[in-house]
């Protein structure tokens, strides 16, 4: 633009030049930022980029998928559903009465066959189905204060409806603690040698150290008119009640496993494990399944093919896309900047 702007300032002659120039005083400062000219990378999805991106994902994902699958394949897992099997045949139709009847015999023996050698540690889990530990009423019903500090014993306001019994505060209060899982399992091998279950360190360390006090003892627990789940030894502080600690870390989904203990010996292939269990916990009234799970772990965790399969599928999908794109690009090279697709060319109108 030329500087010879027609002198547009001032209408008629003689109007005063009010803003006599302090020249350029309001001129915006030049900077690449204010002029929006910052150096920038302007990525654009060229065939090369698209194919390389897909191929990169393929190349990274397929090996990870394979490794994960191998890791998962090495894991040995035995799952045994026992909720139905452990009800005496005669009481099948009154499962709930049976389980609620304090006098009925709830001992049950199961035998499991080890299909593959299991290296120690072998983790013992119980798995519950259709059990809403994530129900909001349930999740809320606990008192972290009380669990942590002896002094906050009476801090049970959040524990409703399981906050006090017989006029005294319950420790630990709340529905979660109240409904503590109380089936027990003991394991022996075919030759009747006992398999010890180590129940130490099955909970998170931070829970033991920080969330459950070492000077807080169960008190007035399961003393109410209604008894929920398991009882607690009142002479052991909460920080060592690891079953409770595990139970109180609520599960995310209605199907969940919780760690019961560890068997710290190897078990050979073909071995049969006899399980003597006390089937006390009521899942019958809401038709929840109960399963006993023995599993080793790999570096990736338990027997879960999902991650491996997911990696392989995503990798495979990307490979498929990469090849499709390659083919399309080769078969149908399109002249760039062909404007025939523009909406306003398709339906011309207006000016």
């Amino acid at each position: 633009m030329n500087a010879n702007a027609p002198s547009s300032s001032s209408g008629g002659a003689g109007s005063p030049d009010v803003n006599a120039p302090r020249r350029n005083s309001k001129r915006p400062k030049y900077s690449r930022f204010t002029q929006q000219e910052l150096p920038a990378c302007k990525p654009i999805l060229t065939p090369k980029w698209v194919i390389s991106a897909f191929m990169l994902v393929t190349v990274v994902f397929i090996p990870i998928g394979l490794v994960s699958l191998f890791a998962s394949r090495d894991v040995v897992e035995i799952v045994d559903r026992y909720d139905n099997a452990c009800i005496p045949p005669g009481t099948k139709s009154q499962k709930v009465q049976h389980i609620q009847d304090a006098r009925s015999n709830k001992t049950c023996v199961r035998s499991l066959t080890v299909t593959k050698r299991m290296k120690q540690p072998i983790y013992v889990y119980y798995q519950l189905d259709n059990y809403y530990q994530n129900h909001r009423r349930y999740v809320k019903s606990r008192s972290d204060q009380q669990l942590r500090n002896r002094g906050d014993e009476n801090d049970t306001s959040s524990c409703d409806p399981e906050n006090e019994a017989n006029g005294m505060s319950i420790v630990p209060c709340g529905l979660i603690a109240w409904s503590l899982f109380n089936d027990t399992f003991s394991f022996s091998t075919r030759n009747n040698s006992q398999l010890n279950v180590n129940k130490r360190e099955i909970s998170w360390k931070s829970d033991r150290d920080e969330k459950f006090g070492s000077d807080v003892f169960p008190k007035n627990f399961q003393n109410g008119s209604l008894i929920g789940g398991g009882r607690l030894n009142e002479s052991i502080p909460l920080s060592q009640q690891e079953d409770l600690i595990v139970w109180m870390r609520t599960a995310a989904l209605p199907t969940f496993r919780k760690l019961y203990g560890k068997i710290e010996v190897d078990i050979e292939e073909g071995e049969t494990i006899n399980v003597v269990l006390e089937n006390r916990y009521n899942t019958y009234s809401f038709s929840g399944k109960k399963k006993l799970v023995l599993s080793t772990t790999s570096w990736l965790g338990g027997k879960n093919n999902f991650i491996g399969i997911a990696y392989l599928s995503v990798g495979g999908l990307c490979f498929l896309l990469a090849s499709t794109f390659t083919i399309i690009y080769l078969v149908k090279p399109r002249h760039l900047g062909d404007p025939t697709y523009l909406s306003w060319n398709r339906n011309p109108g207006g000016h």
């Binding site: 547009s8 209408g11 204010t34 002029q35 994530n134 009423r137 879960n304 399109r334 060319n345």
Partner: protein, 1197 residues
């Protein structure tokens, strides 16, 4: 005081001028009888300040406030403003409800984001209001001289003025309040007032005080001045004022003639004295001010619809959830049978009570709303506000929109419309001062049938450009000639035959002499002689007038002195070749008005000859020529037509000699007419003048160029290529408007003109008869007929472009409710629309018609106060911050210094802002849908008990920290193509006009993308982590681990999605996008390190449970990639095979074809719809014509 000013002082201007607004006597005393009654109760004691303030006390002070808030009202009022927004109000309700048991999260986590968001908005409000306060402060602290007592005047701030004060206002100062004029520097106490800020009229108005006070015109004489004024109460009527003044024991009636309104300006008068009558809020201009309409952009309106849609989804989710919840809860207890006994349904409170399941479901519905409120982006409004403020900063700082000459950068005054700039469908432009400079330059003349003047007009230049050759005159190109010797404003005449006194050698030098004498005498300008340099400057009513006097001066007829009865000028004596002084006696001025279209003066020259000198429009002048005066008629007519073609304003000059008797007869009649008080006074005057302005002898014609502003044709061409329609709404005459239309390529040959006017004989006859009803009926019929005929013509021809030209009178009828839609239909089908002679109100009405009729975005651009209505009515008002006062700028949304900056404002900033805002809003909803849907899906696994998987603080900080900054960065910095390409491919602008980036399809596309991402994230996460152990130590993932992993995936996905969506990756984008992700990990670390009582479920969750697990990292990785694959594939296909227009330009840039002109042109041409206005269209039309001609020529015979 200068000598010139002193000489002026002796003049009785009231006698020289016969302005319509001149003094009139009162013949209706009815109004005055009301004084003292209701509505007329104001009593003002003038000049009693400091003596006794009784009576003046309770009137408002002169402090004017334009701020929205005061320090006291700021908090409540701005809070109220904030919560008027539905979304904000919703969040307020959720925040309040979060204190009850209903809330699925802690109250503080819900309140904090709201506080952050609301306070950010309030801070912005506060800053804006503070800036307004600064402006107020500036106005209120202006100084004016106030009588202190004892005849001494001292400067005082405006805000301290009191009713009754006597002030002295000097030349070119604004009146600080509504004043009663007491006296002025002139003996007859007249003064000139420019009321542009009030009504947009640029001509000066004459005001005059009462005779009794006119003599009190010295500072000292005010020491004993006392007067009492009784008048009407404050009201908004600008043109009425009723009051009486009691002075020296006598009552005098006051009229608007004595009232000087605040915000008007004293012109051509050295000083006046006035008494303050109305102050501050009571002044008429402030009473008149309507609150500026608050404008909202179309995008924001649509955004509201999206928010309502999201509300609907949210309610639906909540509703379904609560129904399911109610059913499941009810089943939990069946008599004594408890299903989910671990929930203790028998001992439940009301929220979960199976016995009252419907109530529980109802409560749960509310809880659900609280939980799903994460679907609504709480930070959206504030983010948009931040983004828009930053965008306006970019606009304000654009160096390409800075106008060097006037030192004015662009200034976006409101920040809430930036994206509308990218969607303009129609521009409604003012002409004068916007397209043209409003500086008239005397450029050509035709004297005695000979054409003089070698200047080149803009039109000639444009035409030359069209012909493909730059017009070279005198060996140089004028347009680009910067150091022209012709730097005299208003004068661009060069012709060596006339300049420098050479005219005496011309054949008809006698006519030339008469011609320029006429220019030097026949006008109403006032000279002002600079004492030192002897240079004369002029104060004239209009720029044309000034141009004539200046031209005469430059050519040696220097008008330098006007007294009440004489006009003096210096001229070159052709015989003695000396400069001699001549003084003519001025007898009468027959002033110009739009009906007469001419002005005359009657003078007696030094020889005692009586002359009537007349100049006027060709339409009225040629018919008034004497039989012996038509010697040059043919040539002059030819020249006038040529000048008009070249876009010039022409006037015909003629004169006549009068005999004494003739004059005497006329003067009697004229004086009588002027002094009459009857209603037909004007008619009488017309009759008197009609009788004498005849039998004229033609001298020649003048041509004045209404200069186009720099770069206007180019800009219009670009805008036309961008597919923007341009309408010109002007108050000018049709001829002028058409001329300008040609010069800026809005009109061209080959374009069919549909002209709608009311000049058919029957209408004229009806007008003569004067029956209003008949006139309006006939006129309306006629307009209707013309519109329908026009429509038929347009429909009949598909190929030819049409131009619609309509004048103000017809427009008034065309805007009637029953025909306005037909009119609009016709108008939108024409390539150009020009409305001439339109009033400010009509401009606003036309704007409203276009806005509401087409439902498209309109932009109005103008510079004068007469454009205010239009600027406020349009979706966006752009003010030209030129010279015509600040009124337009003050009511505009964006002020630019030159019309040509519109190109960059729209095509670059508009396009970017539109793109940024629409992408940002889409992204905002996307990210919240991703997040909200994972919450909802999780609910399905908790039997809809409204337990979120996430920690409270993850949820509340999602919008504020982890995902907002990249979105804001997108909104501020993203560019699809650079500014250079925006301008190179103007059609890119159509993306905004057609709203391709924010149509429902795209919005739903983004929503769908959000839902699909969310589903992928949720199911992959829960399946990958559950129920098996997820790490080597055999532990299983609890709710906190699943929640944190899922949240990590969400943060990754939405940020990576952003990375894919951005097309302009600066360092800042990197910082914000990757920073958002890193911030999340840092937060997780930091929050997890807090004591368990604070961090609850997040306690050491990262360090202890997640980070050591390889599966956590693996899951994050594949979930993030998997969730992005659909979008990435879609985008790749689209970019390659169905690229949007900006995508094509990106390809061009990427492939480096942008410097290959053929290629670029090919793409551009193929994608361009043919434009019909602009010089490109002109040249194409010309090429086509040639092409067809060639075809015909070569066709086989």
């Amino acid at each position: 005081m200068s000598a010139g000013a002193r000489s002026k002082k002796k003049l009785h201007f009231s006698k020289i001028y016969s302005f319509n607004c001149g003094r009139r006597r009162f013949n209706n005393d009815d109004d005055h009888s009301q004084i003292g009654g209701p509505g007329f109760s104001r009593v003002v004691y003038c000049n009693e300040n400091g003596v006794s303030e009784v009576g003046n006390q309770n009137y408002a002070d002169n402090y004017v406030r334009s701020t929205k808030y005061t320090p006291l009202t700021f908090i409540p009022k701005s809070l109220f403003e904030q919560f008027r927004r539905v979304a904000n109000f919703f969040f307020l309700v959720t925040a309040i409800l979060s204190f009850t048991d209903l809330a699925p999260y802690t109250a503080v986590s819900a309140v904090l984001p709201l506080i952050v968001v609301i306070s950010a908005s309030m801070v912005k409000e506060g800053i804006e209001d503070w800036q307004r306060k600064q402006q107020d402060h500036e106005v209120n602290n202006r100084k004016v001289k106030v009588h202190r007592g004892g005849g001494v005047f001292e400067p005082r701030e405006w805000k301290k003025l009191r009713v009754g004060d006597v002030v002295k206002v000097e030349k070119d100062e604004f009146f600080p309040a509504d004043l009663l004029l007491l006296s002025s520097c002139y003996e007859d106490a007249v003064c000139y007032v420019e009321t542009m800020n009030l009504d947009g009229e640029t001509n000066l108005k004459l005001k005059q005080s009462l005779d009794v006070t006119s003599t009190i015109n010295e500072d000292s004489s005010f020491s004993n001045f006392k007067a009492g004024v009784k008048c009407e109460d404050p009201n908004a009527s600008l043109y009425t004022f009723v009051g009486t003044m009691e002075f020296q024991g006598q009552q005098y009636a006051l009229s608007p003639q004595q009232l000087l309104l605040r915000d008007s300006k004293l012109r051509n008068t050295d000083y006046i004295y006035g008494a303050v009558i109305f102050t501050g809020q009571d002044t008429k201009v402030i009473q008149n001010s309507t609150e500026a309409p608050s404008k909202r952009s179309g995008i924001e309106r649509r955004m509201d619809s999206i928010i309502y849609f999201m509300f609907f989804i949210m309610f639906l989710m909540s509703f379904l959830g609560s129904i399911y919840f109610g059913i499941v809860t009810k089943k939990d207890l069946n008599g004594d049978q408890q299903k989910r006994w671990y929930l203790a349904p028998d001992r439940s409170d009301v929220y979960f009570d199976p016995n009252r399941a419907p109530v529980a479901a109802l409560y749960h519905f509310l809880t659900g709303l609280l939980l799903y409120s994460y679907l609504i982006p709480i930070s959206l409004y504030v983010s948009i506000e931040i983004v828009k403020v930053l965008q306006t900063i970019f606009i304000n700082n654009d160096i390409h929109m800075y106008y060097e000459e006037a030192d004015k950068p662009a200034h976006a005054r409101t920040s809430n419309l930036t994206e509308e700039l990218g969607q303009i469908d129609t521009i409604l432009s003012d002409k004068t001062g916007t397209l043209t400079c409003n500086s008239m330059e005397f450029i050509k003349c035709s004297i005695a049938g000979t054409a003089y003047g070698r200047g080149v007009t803009e039109v000639e230049r444009a035409m030359a450009k069209r012909m493909g050759s730059p017009l070279i005159v005198n060996g140089r190109d004028h347009y680009f000639d910067s150091d022209s010797s012709l730097s005299v404003k208003g004068y661009n005449f060069e012709d060596e035959r006339i300049t420098n006194g050479y005219w005496i050698h011309e054949q008809r030098s006698d006519v030339i002499q008469k011609f320029f004498r006429l220019l030097a005498i026949c006008h109403t300008a006032i000279p002002d002689v600079d004492e030192e340099t002897g240079k004369v400057t002029y104060e004239a009513e209009s720029p044309d007038e000034a141009a004539f006097v200046i031209a005469a001066r430059e050519l040696g007829f220097e008008f330098y002195k006007r007294t009440q009865t004489t006009i003096s000028f210096i001229e070159l004596d052709p015989v003695s070749k000396k400069r001699v002084e001549r003084t003519y006696e001025l007898l009468n001025v027959l002033e110009f008005n739009s009906a007469r279209k001419r002005m005359s003066v009657i003078v007696r020259d030094e020889d005692g000859k009586l002359l009537l000198l007349c100049k006027g429009a060709d339409s009225v002048m040629f018919e008034r020529l004497a039989k012996n005066g038509i010697e040059f008629e043919e040539n002059t007519k030819k020249h006038v037509n040529q000048y008009a073609d070249a876009g010039l304003r022409t006037l015909i000059l003629a004169y006549r000699e009068l005999t004494e008797d003739e004059y005497k007869a006329f003067n009697e009649k004229f004086t009588e007419a002027k002094n009459s008080v009857s209603a037909d006074r004007d008619d009488l005057i017309d009759q008197a003048t009609e009788g004498i302005e005849k039998d004229l002898i033609l001298l020649g014609a003048t041509a004045v160029e209404d200069k186009l502003q720099q770069g206007v044709p180019e800009c219009i061409d670009k805008l036309a290529q961008a597919g923007i329609k341009i309408w010109v709404l002007t108050g000018d005459k049709m001829e002028t408007a058409i001329n300008i239309g040609f010069s800026c390529s809005l009109l061209r040959e080959g374009m069919k003109q549909i002209i709608i006017i009311l000049e058919s004989p029957d209408i004229i006859a009806a007008e003569k008869a004067g029956d209003e009803n008949v006139i309006s009926k006939i006129s309306k019929e006629s307009v209707k007929k013309q519109i329908l005929a026009g429509k038929a013509k347009v429909s009949a021809s598909t190929s030819d472009p049409f131009a619609l030209i309509i004048d103000g009178k017809s427009l008034a009828y065309a805007l009637h409710d029953d025909i306005k839609n037909t009119f609009l239909e016709l108008a939108v089908r024409c390539a150009s629309v020009i409305c001439c002679r339109s009033s400010p109100k009509q401009k606003a009405l036309v704007t409203r018609l276009v806005k509401e009729g087409t439902r498209k975005t309109t932009l109005a651009i103008g510079d004068g106060a007469n454009d205010v209505g239009m600027l406020q009515e349009a979706d966006i008002g752009v003010g030209i911050s030129g010279v015509e006062g600040m009124q337009a700028v003050m009511s505009s949304d964006i002020a630019i210094a030159q019309f040509r900056f519109l190109e960059r404002l729209l095509l670059v900033h508009g396009h970017w802002c539109y793109r940024r805002i629409s992408s940002m809003i889409c992204y905002f909803f996307y990210k919240n849908i991703v997040f909200g849907t994972t919450i909802f899906l999780y609910e399905a696994y908790t039997s809809f008990s409204a337990q979120p998987a996430y920690n409270d603080w993850y949820m509340s900080l999602y919008n504020v920290f982890f995902t907002s900054l990249p979105a804001i960065a997108l909104g501020v910095f993203d560019q699809d193509v650079s500014a250079r390409f925006c301008l190179k491919f103007p059609l890119l602008y159509q993306e905004g006009v057609q709203n391709t980036l924010f149509r429902w399809r795209r919005i739903f596309g983004w929503m769908l993308n959000g839902v699909s991402s969310s589903i992928i994230i949720f199911f992959l996460c829960i399946r990958a982590l559950n129920p098996e152990s997820y790490r080597k130590n055999g532990k299983t993932a609890g709710m906190e681990a699943v929640g944190a992993t899922m949240y990590t995936c969400v943060v990754w996905v939405v940020n990576c999605q952003m990375a894919l969506a951005v097309s302009y990756f600066t360092l800042l984008q990197h910082i914000f996008i990757w920073g958002g992700i890193i911030l999340w990990y840092i937060f997780l670390l930091g929050y997890g390190a807090l004591p368990a009582s604070i961090s609850t479920t997040a306690y050491r969750v990262f360090v202890e449970t997640l980070a050591p697990a390889p599966s956590f990292w693996f899951v994050t990785m594949f979930v993030s990639i998997a969730a992005l694959v659909p979008y990435f594939s879609y985008k790749s296909v689209q970019m390659r095979f169905f690229p949007p227009y900006h995508g094509m330009i990106q390809w061009i840039r990427y492939e480096g074809n942008c410097d290959d002109p053929d290629y670029v042109n090919m793409v551009r041409q193929r994608s361009i719809r043919t434009t019909t206005v602009g010089f490109t269209a002109r040249s194409i039309a010309r090429d086509n014509n040639l092409y067809h001609l060639n075809l015909e020529r070569h066709a086989p015979k």
